[in-house]
């Protein structure tokens, strides 16, 4: 049922108050027609008896109180879905922007989705080989995981995400695979980088892109990740494809959230971000996963740039509490020309333990990565000490650890943008580096594996 009103009361910031309305529902979508015939979209934020507060996506510039008509659609934002969405490009609201015809929908879905029942979920435990040692060996990604990249301005997070999208595969299986890419408030150049990469590798035909650039409406940005995940849910759980979703850049998304919260005059939480930001981010991130009775999966890689490289800033902080680990890029490593500059000590994949080991990667994987991390961590401590006191003040053992950590960064973490390392190569490389140490130092590895691999690869 469509209802039309000409009773705009007040306009302030991105918000409009419409009076004398009847039977308007919370979160309903509406269309605003300006005097000159231009139409904009809005969504109901609040209903109070006969007044509705509407948030205008494209902004309120040029809207005046008398000549404006508001049409309420009686439903929330929906996305048209069909297998044709692959290979296409949409704006942040899910409308095609590639000059190709409209999507003939097989199905229309509300972009907010519904929370997955934890009982219906299946635990993510299938190892995804990304071909990047610092991820496969130490922070293993599994299907259905949400693993963000915490980056900083000027760090190469885009090329890392593109490399993952390019190389990710599950060993020994040929399965339907799709990529959903959502850009929120990034520049044209950044978006172009991904498009080119997808085009050059032929991935474009199995990719859906949802683009909200830096100069597109800010409020649309709130809808963009939800639109993208609705598409991903369709691909994963109806077409049974394994879907990799890349969301970039979540920092812009959170800033849009703050902007709207301020316009609504809500009580701000930490650093001006709204108090409900945790819940809001969770409603995006938690849509990743696997289901017991469906073949497909959604693996989510959100990218965010930490303001001032600060991990305790509300955006990375709240993200880290929801996602299953994080890949952290380090500026120090980047300066040392380590590529990708993944800082493995604060990086973590919470789901790795179920995705590695016998039958998945190799029996020695868990012990090996524990040992590598422990050695690297001690090497880093030694490095700090040597900066203060000079290398001469280190014990012989500490000197060995220092040497190890240096080699580890140069040979294990560092690899080219186009080097695709098999998991065995990564594991063997780990053993090669560990052979610097006497057997007794390798306390985290079981005897049987030391017996089998130490000094033998």
């Amino acid at each position: 049922m469509v209802k039309e009103y000409r009773t705009v009361g007040t306009i302030s910031g991105p918000l409009m108050l419409i009076e004398g309305v009847k039977e308007i529902k919370y979160a309903e979508l509406c269309e605003i027609e300006l005097k000159n015939g231009e139409t904009r979209k809005g969504q109901v934020l609040e209903v109070d008896a006969d007044r509705a507060l509407v948030q205008v996506f494209e902004g309120t510039r040029g809207i005046d109180i008398p000549g404006t008509k508001v049409k309420f659609k009686g439903k929330g934002i929906e996305l048209s879905l069909s297998p044709e969405i692959l290979g296409r490009m949409f704006n942040g609201m899910g409308e095609p922007i590639d000059n190709a015809p409209e999507i003939l929908p097989e199905k229309r879905a509300d972009i907010n989705g519904e929370p997955l029942n934890p009982y219906a979920r299946n635990y993510p435990n299938e190892f995804i080989q990304t071909g990047i040692s610092a991820i496969d060996g130490l922070n293993t990604l599994v299907r259905g995981q949400k693993l963000p990249i915490f980056s900083g301005s000027g760090l190469p997070h885009n090329s890392l995400a593109a490399q993952i999208a390019r190389q990710a595969k599950v060993l020994g299986k040929e399965e339907k695979f799709a990529v959903v890419f959502a850009a929120m408030g990034i520049t044209y150049e950044e978006a172009e980088f991904f498009m080119n990469d997808f085009r050059n590798t032929g991935a474009i035909s199995r990719t859906s892109m949802f683009i909200n650039l830096a100069n597109d409406p800010v409020i649309e940005r709130i809808a963009t990740p939800r639109v993208a995940l609705t598409a991903a849910e369709y691909l994963a759980f109806e077409l049974e494809m394994h879907t990799l979703v890349i969301l970039t850049d979540m920092t812009n998304y959170c800033e849009a959230l703050r902007e709207i919260s301020a316009a609504r005059k809500e009580i701000p939480g930490r650093r001006g971000y709204p108090g409900y930001m945790y819940t809001d981010l969770a409603s995006v991130y938690e849509r990743a996963g696997r289901l017991k009775d469906k073949k497909g999966s959604i693996t989510l890689i959100p990218i965010l740039t930490m303001p001032e490289d600060d991990k305790t800033h509300p955006i990375p902080d709240l993200t880290g509490y929801i996602t299953e680990g994080q890949i952290l890029l380090g500026r120090g490593l980047y300066r040392k020309k380590v590529s990708p500059p993944i800082d493995v000590l604060p990086s973590l994949s919470r789901l790795k333990d179920k995705g590695i080991g016998q039958g998945k990667t190799r029996e020695d994987h868990a012990d090996l990565f524990n040992q590598l991390i422990a050695c690297y961590s001690r090497g880093k401590e030694a490095e700090e000490l040597s900066i203060v006191l000079g290398e001469a003040a280190l014990s012989d053992m500490d000197k060995l650890y220092l040497k190890f950590s240096d080699k580890f960064e140069k040979r294990y973490i560092s690899q080219g943008d186009y080097e695709d390392r098999a998991i065995e190569t990564t594991l063997d490389l780990g053993w090669k580096l560990l052979s610097m140490f006497p057997k007794g130092e390798l306390k985290r590895i079981r005897d049987e594996f030391l017996e089998k691999y130490y000094g033998k690869v």
Binding site: E23, I24, K25, Y26, A27, E28, D50, G76, N112, E114, P115, L116, P118, Y119, A120, R121, N122, Y123, P124, Q145, F237, E266, I267, P268, G269, R270, G275, Y276, Y278, T279, A282, S283, E286, G289, D293, K311, T312, H313, D317, G320, I322, E324, Q326, L345, P346, L351, D353, K354, N370, I373, A374, S377, V388, A393, L394, G440, K443, R444, R446, D447
Partner: protein, 561 residues
């Protein structure tokens, strides 16, 4: 809305969404809806129930997984598919299942609130005691035996107000603590098989503990480890605003894990309340109360219950969100001014109690709450309010987690205030020396921290041989005792007996090393002895072969001559 009281449950709109009255102003009630409210508008009907938010207590609780308002998630899935549709109404307990009821009391017996009148074998691990509801007393008129559903009448009691029918199920409002006769001081340890906890910072049965830490520091792994190995009859896990996949992990893993004592699947003594972060905020606020009320019910049967809330920060945030919507005057960081009171009230529902009714029995609720402070900052109001009430503090540190020292519990800043009250029990059951050994180990670690300061300033050369030996021993305590791998099949659980042996072996090596130093050996020679490697592999010695640790002790004796 006249006739309705504060905190009564209502159903909103034709979709019948569950809500609770949180404010009354004249005829107008503010309702907090436990489900998503998109598509609801003015003019929708509201249906009052005139009852507060309650949970159903009876056989069938064990092994269940509920959402924040006690709707079984498995039944929701059968009805609504893979997502949680709105307005679903499913009772907490299965109405069809017949339970075999064995009466204990007879007709003519006088009974009072809390008296056990019969038993139902709920799972192989849990005997469900059927009790008279706390507010009922009188004489039993009828008593039945046989198979019943939870709503069938099994007993009729003649009370002063007339006849009262007793079913296997009773209801209890979640925000009201269940009564008990007396609270008792907790003095029995609740062991978890985790060395750093059991030896250094133990929690008592009926006590409370708090685990704050930044993300990635291992809060959830600690909570899971405790659920798996804790020495308790019943485990209740409240997943409050956390990750969906973590709940799935518990759901899929627990039925396969065996209880170390009985060999039965752990799920037979476990109950989950899961309100993940993407489920409605208001139900998250209720989930903690749902959990503790069920815990109290099992405590009243005389069981030792462990309740774990992961994470209480999400619960506090839900309170903040609701308080903000009510436009209440905010306290610190936007949290409501009553935050501290609510937290204290919740932890106060833990405890060792003398249960209501006959026979005489004691029940325990141990509450372990994790806190997720923003940026790991312990000045956070939720952490501070929690620390004011709990007696055990496990301080998780990013620095340790980054070095993959798990559990990342900082040995210098964590504390347990139960050490003294547990002393008697520990001396009688584990050994006279255990607590003093722990104290010695702690002193070594403290000394290590001081020495490391010196090393950082002036280098290793400035230390004496004794001090270098101490550093080695401290490293051994940290790496070979405190560090524990939750994913290693043997290391994941260590009995207190083995813990005692491990710690005394390390300390024995220290005194051995000191006497070798005196007899003229250099510290380099001592540090290179192969015995250190034997010590470092102690943790992988199976529970059945712990005598092997005694052999290490003998070897140390031999070294000293």
């Amino acid at each position: 809305m006249s006739g309705s009281k504060m905190y009564d449950v209502v159903r909103v709109s034709e979709k019948k969404l569950i809500g609770e009255i949180i404010e009354l102003k004249g005829e107008i009630a503010s309702i907090q809806v436990y489900e998503e409210t998109g598509g609801i508008g003015p003019g929708e009907p509201v249906f009052p129930t005139y009852e507060p938010l309650s949970v159903e207590l009876g056989p069938g609780l064990m092994g269940s997984i509920y959402d924040g308002v006690q709707r079984p998630l498995d039944d929701i899935m059968k009805q609504a598919g893979n997502s949680i549709a709105r307005g679903i109404s499913i009772p907490g307990l299965d109405r069809e299942h017949k339970w075999k009821f064995k009466p204990i009391k007879k007709e003519g017996n006088k009974v009072g609130g809390g008296d056990i009148i019969g038993e139902v074998q709920e799972t192989v691990l849990v005997t469900h005691k059927v009790m008279i509801p706390p507010n009922v007393s009188g004489k039993i008129m009828h008593m039945k035996e046989g198979e019943f559903t939870v709503t069938d009448v099994v007993c009729v009691v003649e009370t002063e107000e007339g006849e009262r029918e007793i079913t296997l199920m009773q209801k209890w409002p979640v925000r009201k603590p269940r009564p008990c006769i007396d609270k008792l001081p907790p003095d029995i340890p609740m062991y978890t098989g985790q060395r750093v906890i059991d030896a250094f910072f133990p929690v008592a049965k009926g006590g409370s503990a708090c685990v704050p830490g930044p993300f990635g520091s291992g809060k959830t792994v600690i909570q899971h480890q405790i659920s798996k190995w804790a020495d308790a009859d019943i485990i209740l896990f409240v997943g409050c605003g956390e990750r969906g996949n973590e709940m799935t992990d518990v759901l899929l893993e627990f039925p396969e894990l065996k209880d170390p004592k009985s060999g039965e699947p752990l799920m037979k003594r476990t109950l989950l309340v899961a309100n993940t972060s993407n489920m409605p905020v208001a139900a998250r606020e209720a989930s903690v109360y749902t959990g503790i009320t069920i815990a109290e019910y099992f405590r009243d049967m005389g069981y030792s219950v462990t309740l774990q809330a992961d994470s209480t920060s999400r619960w506090a945030e839900a309170m903040r969100e609701i308080s903000g919507r009510l436009e209440e005057m905010p306290g610190e960081e936007g949290y409501p001014a009553y935050l501290g009171t609510r937290i204290a009230e919740f932890y106060e529902r833990a405890g060792r109690v003398k249960c209501l009714g006959e026979p005489d029995r004691e029940g325990f609720i141990t509450v372990i709450g994790s806190v997720s402070p923003p940026g790991g900052d312990l000045a956070d109001p939720v952490v501070q309010s929690t620390l004011r009430v709990v007696k055990v503090f496990w301080d998780l540190q990013d620095r340790l987690a980054n070095a993959r020292h798990f559990p990342a519990i900082d040995w210098l800043s964590s504390y347990s205030l139960y050490t003294d009250s547990l002393k008697k029990w520990v001396e009688e059951n584990i050994g006279k020396e255990f607590q003093s050994n722990v104290k010695d180990a702690m002193a070594i670690l403290e000394r290590e921290a001081e020495l490391q300061e010196i090393v950082r300033l002036v280098g290793v050369e400035s230390l004496s041989s004794e001090e270098i030996l101490l550093l080695e021993v401290a490293r051994s305590i940290r790496e070979d005792f405190l560090h524990q791998n939750a994913f290693h099949e043997i290391d994941t659980y260590t009995s207190t007996k083995k813990q005692e042996k491990m710690l005394s072996a390390i300390l024995h090596l220290y005194s051995g090393g000191l006497s070798l130093l005196k007899s003229g050996k250099t510290v380099d020679e001592i540090v290179k002895l192969p015995i250190w490697e034997r010590i470092s592999r102690m943790k992988y010695i199976g529970e059945k072969k712990i005598e092997d640790i005694d052999k290490i002790n003998k070897e140390i004796d031999k070294l000293m001559g």
